[in-house]
Structures are given as structure tokens and as C-alpha cells.
Symmetry: C2
Subunit: 195 residues, 2 copies
């Protein structure tokens, strides 16, 4: 399969250069309970403001939890359902928007969820798995389907599994599996001191 | 120095188990230009919604950019200034709150900044550096000091450097350098299917 390692301008850890979000998932390969446990453990040890750990994960493995997998899948946009149905696991990441201790608003809740999911995604890469994060889901539908409590915000859906050949996808999506990987040059997002 | 490796319940990458936020920084050791470049490169390759890369980093190395370092330091809370003054570099992480292409609100901006900083922090760990993220800074003061444009939100300050012995810190802070590392058990933040 096409090498998707990032063309980095400075040396970075291999798992960061190799982490990438495909849509071609191998339906024949499952995500094991132990694999999912390690992914969630990686998320668990992320940093967070006051160590609040505002993240919650709703999870389902396709082979082991077919009903729950179908529920999570049904919340995705139609386009995302088309390819995510072949993922070995689906995970929704949610963030509690206030501190448990005092109820004050936690402005870092979504930021900290991002940190946790970044660790999950890198852990997946380290284990030979791939992940694809999506905002393309119906937030209100997911609130109902996942019975999300008030004050907790569904932020992201994550497909997890094994990479497959791009050719299993419709043409337009297959092309994105091999398109060059790109990021802004550092000069566009790094400032010495201030703006 | 005390081993700060996390007591993980499932196997995770060493850089994730070892990443930890000290306050004891070694004033005698600098952060090099090449090191900072690799940290920002790690952030650069984080995932983001529509590959928007909403993050901006205002950076200063203590030895190379003393004026800029002093400016960033001055925005921290007094307590944080007390120990962060010994960091080799300070970085402020900011997030553009709308998409560049169409001006629509980007609800994933802070989340994606979190992903980028998580990668920065793990890259630091991989390179033998330590990081400490802080929300303890004066947001309004930083807007002025860093000349932050409207629509961009200062979210986090990050001290980066080399770890020092806890004994360089006042007693209360030194105790936190050796306190047990803890996270909620998975049952508290993982749900099969939904809530």
C-alpha cells in the first residue's frame, strides 16, 4: 500500500509522521478487546487542566458489539457511514463542559479531549492500526442515541481499524487515499514572541 | 530523579507513559533551535478538522530570545512565573475560531489545538525534554502583549525544558513532583455503546 509517511521538515517521532486518516478499512480484520483497551489507556494518560480528565468515550467493536456498533454508525453522516462501516471499532469522544468539583465551566474541556484523542490515534499507529476522526455526524441524533447527559458534548467520532487498499473505495474517495499529504509551512503558524 | 512513568493498566507507548508535567526545570540547560523546530513540527502534523490547522504558536527560547521570553513569562500567573522562569522555552498555543475559507465558526478549533499540543508534548518526551501546560495565565494581558488578532483565542501556555531535582522548588511544589500519578479508572470514562 502507498506509503503515507509525512514529508516532515524536521525530525519527529515515527508514529507522528505515520499517523494518517484513511477511509479504506479492511472489513476482514477486527479490533481486539486488548487493542481497544490500550487505545483508551493512551487517552487516559493525556494531560488535562487540573487533571480533570473531561473526556468520555462511547465505544463499540464491530464483531463483538454489533448492536452498539450499528447505533454509533447510524449517527454518522451518510458519506461517512459508507466507508466507516468497515472499521473494526467506532468510538465517540465527548467532553464534560464543567468541572466535577465545583460546576464551573471548563474552557479546556474540548482542548483536553483533543489531547486524549491525539494520544489514542498515535497509540493506534504504534500498534499498526489506523484511525479517522470525523466531525461529520449528527450531534443531536447522537445525544439521543447515546443517551448523553446534559453538560456533556459529543465532539468527535473515530473510526479505528486496519488499513485496506484504496481500490475498495469509490473513485473520488480512493483518490484521497493517495493524494499528497500537506501542512502549512511553519512560518504561517509560528510567531517569535507575538503577532 | 524519581521515576514518573505512569502505572498503566494496559500497555501504551513509552512516550505516553513517561509524559508528565513537572515544575522543576533546569535553568542551566537550554532548548535549542533544532529542538523547538522538531516540537513545532510534531504539532504541525496533528490531525485537524478539514485539515484547517487552526493552531498558532507564539514562541520564545530563554537564551536566544530573552525579550520575547520575558514578554511571554509576564503573562503567566505569579505562581507559574515562579517556576516557569527556569524553562528553556515558553510557547503560547492559540486557536483561530473560524475557518479561513468561509469564516464559519470552527467548533473543533480548541480540540484541534489540543491535538497539536499533545503531539508537541509527546515529541518533547521522545527527545528527553519535559513540558508543562498551563491555563494559569492572564488571557486579556496575553491578547495585548502578543498582539493577538480578533478571532484568535489564547488557550494555553507551555513551559518546555529539562527536568531538574524537585528540591529546587518551594516545599509545597516539590511535594507535587513526587506525588503518585493518578487517573480515573476506565469504567468511569468508557461506555459500551452509550450512557
Amino acid at each position: 500500500m502507498t506509503d503515507r509517511t509525512a514529508p516532515t521538515a524536521h525530525p519527529i517521532s515515527a508514529i507522528m509522521a505515520e499517523r494518517w486518516s484513511p477511509r479504506a478499512f479492511d472489513e476482514a480484520r477486527a479490533v481486539s478487546e486488548a487493542e481497544l483497551a490500550s487505545l483508551l489507556e493512551a487517552a487516559r494518560w493525556a494531560a488535562s487542566c487540573f487533571n480533570e480528565q473531561p473526556w468520555v468515550f462511547c465505544v463499540a467493536r464491530r464483531d463483538a458489539n454489533p448492536a452498539e456498533f450499528a447505533t454509533l454508525l447510524s449517527c454518522l453522516s451518510e458519506n461517512n457511514q459508507g466507508w466507516a462501516t468497515r472499521a473494526g471499532a467506532l468510538v465517540f469522544g465527548l467532553a464534560r463542559q464543567s468541572f466535577a468539583a465545583n460546576g464551573n465551566a471548563n474552557v479546556m474541556a474540548n482542548y483536553d479531549l483533543g489531547q486524549a484523542v491525539a494520544q489514542l490515534a498515535l497509540q493506534a499507529t504504534a500498534m499498526g492500526l489506523v484511525t479517522h476522526q470525523m466531525r461529520g455526524f449528527d450531534v443531536e441524533k447522537s445525544r439521543v442515541a447515546l443517551n448523553v447527559p446534559a453538560g456533556t458534548e459529543p465532539m468527535v467520532a473515530i473510526a479505528i481499524g486496519h488499513r485496506a487498499e484504496a481500490s475498495i473505495l469509490p473513485e473520488a474517495l480512493a483518490a484521497r487515499e493517495v493524494a499528497p499529504r500537506a501542512r502549512k509551512p511553519p512560518a504561517e503558524f509560528v510567531r517569535l514572541g507575538g503577532f
